[in-house]
């Protein structure tokens, strides 16, 4: 009996002292094995299938790097701007914050689609890889994801962009960076309007959806991403789109909560029947999707 008690006590000690596993790393499903971005020639899985006539002239594709500080480290962040760089100082720009998968090649069709809002090249579209994604250096964390977003905004600011011509579009994980940039004054620019596609509410909602009971998210993760609360600080117009059949981030407990918590009266939504998590633009219809975004960007109220 003493032996059993000893083993149990040792197990308790080991488990509490040595094993404090957290699940935060699973947030970032990054791929940094590539040596270059292949864009239209990328053979991996894509976030969206686009018709082949969505073509971007080579002259409109600008790959570049900017740097951010991540603690003691300086990290190079890879980015792609589609459009006329010189027009940044006069026209509206969309900053696209992608999801948590792979790298920019995976989301390239989405950047192309946004560059066709209005007509091809109507708005400049900037996309960047979070640290640890694609050719961006570092290991992804919540904090350096925000730092990279701020770095992208800083690059746009240096090119002459001002707040009233900035649209930030967040898809899935990117909704965190979007809400943060709109709600925190510490970013280089604050967006004039934001678009959230299939946003998640918070880790707490994820945990509680799965467990049915009111279980604290601190039982599993340290991350503080909380779009449901952060959106309350976002005093800019919101366009929310979400697939009603999203079997991953529930339309009701995630998207609708974020939308309802947005305090401004000017907000619009697309509740998309039949759409899941990854195909909202397709189910809206690509033409209607582009038209609705154009209307949102150009409308005064």
């Amino acid at each position: 009996m003493r032996g059993i008690i000893s083993i149990v006590l040792i197990a308790v000690f080991i488990l509490f002292v040595g094993c404090r596993k957290r699940l935060d790393d699973f947030l970032f499903n990054n791929d940094n094995s590539i040596t270059e971005y292949r864009l239209d020639n990328y053979a991996g899985e894509l976030s969206l299938e686009l018709p082949t006539d969505y073509y971007i002239p080579e002259s409109d594709i600008h790959q570049f790097e900017f740097t951010i500080e991540d603690g003691d480290e300086t990290l190079k962040i890879a980015a792609i701007f589609v459009g006329d760089v010189n027009a940044i100082q006069t026209d509206t720009v969309i900053l696209y914050c992608h999801g948590n998968r792979d790298h920019m090649d995976h989301y390239w069709p989405r950047q192309k689609l946004l560059s066709y809002v209005g007509h091809q090249g109507r708005f400049g579209v900037l996309m960047f890889d979070y640290p640890g994604y694609g050719l961006s250096e570092g290991k992804p964390t919540e904090e350096n994801m925000y730092a990279a977003t701020d770095g992208a905004l800083n690059w746009l600011k240096e090119k002459g962009l001002e707040n009233d011509r900035l649209i930030v579009y967040g898809y899935s994980l990117g909704s965190a960076a979007t809400c943060k940039s709109a709600g925190d004054k510490s970013f280089a620019l604050q967006p004039h309007k934001i678009v959230l596609e299939a946003p998640f509410a918070s880790s707490a909602v994820m945990v509680q959806d799965a467990s049915l009971i009111n279980m604290p998210s601190s039982y599993m993760v340290d991350i503080k991403i909380d779009n449901a609360e952060q959106i309350k600080q976002c005093n800019v117009p919101l366009y929310w789109m979400h697939g009603i059949d999203d079997d991953f981030l529930s339309f009701t407990s995630h998207g609708q909560l974020v939308y309802n918590n947005h305090n401004m009266s000017w907000k619009i939504k697309s509740e998309v029947p039949g759409a899941g998590h990854n195909n909202v633009p397709v189910f809206i219809g690509l033409e209607e999707y582009k038209q609705s975004l154009l209307s949102f960007i150009l409308s005064d109220s």
Binding site: M1, I4, V8, V12, L15, F16, C19, R20, K21, R22, L23, F26, L27, F28, N29, E45, S47, G99, N100, R101, H106, Y171, S172, L173, A198, F200, A201, S202, A204, V205, M206, V207, Q208, D209, A210, S211, L212, I213, N214, M215, P216, S217, S218, Y219, M220, V221, A228, E229, D245, D246, D247, F248, L249, S250, T252, S253, L257, N261, H277, N278
Partner: protein, 240 residues
């Protein structure tokens, strides 16, 4: 695309914590009898690209017979501890009825589960209420040890069926939303394969069989289709 990995793992752990373990001491121990058990298992989930499998949730349980009808017990959830969550459960199982030939019986368990994490010290308390009917078969001959130490009970294998329930005491959940699930019901179907000092336990558990398992982060495998989840548990108990 938002990868399922992160949410899948969060969901799995969340469910592991709430899915608890198999039913404890469906037939109460004899007076002054002790038992230590370990169990492994959990709800069945489909892990993309890997397999459909029960989640390996583990716990260690100690029980003691206060009388021939009342056993008190406590459990420590070892998998939860890996994540920095001190989760323990406790309860008392009362033998409510037993047939004269001791083949049939019924018991009820009133218990609780508590958990606190070492990171933010978030504390939770969930009451638990179970009720089981059991049927014993394959009786062995009564031995002197049975007479001396087990209240005259001959060992036999046991089948049991019952219901379990967890109760959420919070009226609100994250972001002030209404906590709509107050009771998480479970239907348990189990078997105890008994030897003189050892028991091998197998239990099938239908978790929350009336709640939708769609549009959430896990791909549950459930005998009730799009409702709830089905758990599979194995346990080993040593009596002394």
């Amino acid at each position: 695309m938002y990868s399922r990995n992160y949410l899948l793992f969060i969901g799995i752990i969340a469910l592991m914590l709430s899915a608890c373990g198999p039913a404890r001491f469906v037939e109460p121990l004899s007076k002054n009898e002790n038992a230590i058990g370990i169990d492994l298992g959990g709800p069945m989930v489909k892990v993309p690209g890997i397999a459909t499998m029960p989640i390996p949730f583990s716990s260690v349980t100690y029980g003691r017979g206060v009388s021939n009808n009342l056993t008190i017990h406590g459990s420590w959830y070892t998998t939860a501890a890996v994540f920095g969550v001190a989760q323990i459960g406790g309860g008392a199982t009362y033998g409510a009825w037993k047939s004269k030939n001791q083949k049939h019986g019924a018991s009820a368990m009133l218990g609780f589960n508590t958990a606190i994490d070492v990171f933010e010290n978030n504390f939770k308390f969930w009451p638990q209420l179970d009720a089981h009917y059991y049927f014993k078969y394959n009786f062995r001959s009564l031995t002197q040890d049975d007479l001396l130490n087990k209240g005259g009970r001959p060992s036999a294998n046991m089948l049991y069926v019952g219901i379990g329930s967890w109760y959420e005491l919070s009226s609100v959940k994250a972001h002030g939303e209404k906590q709509e699930t107050v009771v998480v019901p479970m239907l348990n179907l189990g078997h105890d394969l008994n030897w003189k000092k050892w028991t091998f336990k197998t239990e099938l558990k239908l978790l929350a069989p009336f709640s939708s398992n769609e549009d959430i982060v896990l791909d549950y495998i459930s005998l009730t289709g799009k409702k709830g989840a089905t758990g599979l548990y194995f346990g080993l108990i040593r009596r002394f």
